[in-house]
Symmetry: C2
Subunit: 161 residues, 2 copies
DNA sequence: GCTAATCATCAGCGGTACTGATGATCACTA
DNA sequence: TAGTGATCATCAGTACCGCTGATGATTAGC
């Protein structure tokens, strides 16, 4: 039987199951599409976070990415070995490291972002345009606590008045 | 600043980031709500899968749950130690194990399912009823390859005519 | 100056996926 | 019926990640 992987109706409708397997499917696509860029999605996450706004410390970087502070050490080790970021002691507080994107880092960030965009597109292909945007909106509410956006609006941060 | 955890606009809108953090939020709720039942969500998954339809082997069980075959060994070890399932060599093919829910297993399955339902409800609380059902439908399409259900319909399995 | 707090880093643990063994059993076939 | 190759559960080993709790360096507050 080909349907050896059918979880069955009770398990297959659990949110945890659905979220996990959606994530696995997306990860697979990311591996495929991002292989030529030489960075993983995880590493792209670091680059994106750095481009958004330079963190005050590695620990803040870890919090913003949602990884453990000790994992950030290894993550930056790899990115520094690839010459995509630089670590430099903060002159104002020499306990901290300033982490910066290099020029190469910005180039790779662009390429990797495009690759990730393609992976997301392939992932969402079956949903149609408004299915995809509804999913993004719903996940944004769940993961970031965003209020249901009334309309496209670029200038907003998480804040409840 | 309290917003030490804000990923920033570029990272915070990536699907991978959103899926991962939605999953983490749900996992946290599951731990909280399921603690009194004595089983984890992962273990509930096994129980649900067994209740849906008894697998022909541990390997098929692993495939249906989406875990590694070698992880299923340990998972069943734990559940067997809790007397929720029984492993017994298949009389027809003695390489295989028949895995069955015990009476206790069914009881705990019911309790744990209720607890997980509550966790899901808490998780989805911000979305409203139709937000929640839209999310389920969209994730079902992504994770299971389901076609967009025209209307609520209990009797269907994965199959493309 | 002393003490407590904070930072990056490291070592160690637990859980999970994955690979590749092992021994038992089965299916096929010559 | 004996031999061969496949399949099953299990185990050992590796890798990655999150978490805890150290360490040494540095800073801040007193």
């Amino acid at each position: 039987m080909a349907d050896d992987r059918d979880p069955g109706p009770a398990l297959g409708r659990r949110l945890g199951y659905l979220l996990k397997h959606a994530m696995l499917a997306l990860e697979e696509l990311h591996e495929e599409y991002m292989a030529p860029t030489g960075v993983t999605v995880r590493e792209l996450g670091v680059l994106l976070m750095l481009a958004d706004r330079e963190p005050e410390s590695q620990q803040q970087a870890a919090r913003r990415l949602g990884v453990d502070r000790t994992s950030m050490v290894g993550l930056l080790d790899v990115l520094e070995a690839k010459s995509l970021v630089v670590r430099r002691p903060d002159s104002a507080d020499r306990r901290r490291n300033v982490v910066e994107l290099t020029a190469t880092g910005r180039t790779v960030l662009d390429q990797a972002t495009r690759a990730s965009d393609e992976a997301e597109q392939a992932f969402l292909a079956g949903l149609g345009d408004d299915g995809a945007s509804r999913l993004r909106a719903l996940l944004g509410q769940l993961a970031l606590g965003e209020s249901p956006e009334p309309r496209e609006d670029a200038s907003r941060r998480r804040s409840e008045p």
